[in-house]
Symmetry: C2
Subunit: 120 residues, 2 copies
């Protein structure tokens, strides 16, 4: 697949994908004869996972660490599982922050509606 297809598939920007490759956050991507990136299915799945982890707050350093472990095979499964569980806790904290903010928004919007009611 071409880079534009991967961008559409993963939601990452083309620049971000190139940046991830250069910084070693995803594995090196194979190239066509004229130097363009050609993504395998495995590349695509990997970037989809990375996009989801990143979108929910995993730092790049941790993402590349996860990639290193993956490359070392099944011996690192327990470590990888621990990383994903830790990330799950991050999700939980984010969910709580969203809920708190939502409550605050509802409260504020309610007060705005009162003011708008008086003005009318």
């Amino acid at each position: 697949m071409r880079i534009s297809e991967i961008a559409a598939e993963t939601g990452l920007s083309i620049d971000t994908i190139r940046y991830y490759e250069k910084a070693g956050i995803c594995p090196p991507i194979s190239r066509s004869a004229d130097g363009r990136r050609l993504f395998s299915n495995e590349n695509c799945e990997w970037l989809t996972l990375l996009a989801s982890l990143r979108e929910t707050g995993m730092p790049l350093k941790e993402m590349s660490e996860f990639g290193q472990l993956y490359q070392r095979g099944d011996a690192t499964v327990a470590q990888r599982k621990a990383m994903l569980i830790a990330h799950g806790q991050r999700l939980e904290r984010r969910r709580a922050a969203l809920a708190r903010c939502d409550a605050l928004l509802q409260f504020k919007i309610g007060r705005y509606d009162e003011i708008l009611g008086e003005q009318a």
Copy 2:
């Protein structure tokens, strides 16, 4: 209140609070005789709101715009309401991203457990 108390209250770092004041993202804070910041209750509530909006992905530019509107009084209530509603939609998208990532984590962890079962 002192800056360390505001940091504890809002979850923002002391550096971030100073940065917000310098960048005009929060209103200027009054000072004690020897130059230390003294936060009013209103300052504290405002920073609490900003912290919650920021934590859930509102850009700083939008936050200061919201502050500008607030300063212009009740005439801007409708605009401010629209901004908060738009932010509520951002919350919704974030919630969906968290849920997708959570599903992915559960799936991956399940597969890791299978591998770990075989290894045992």
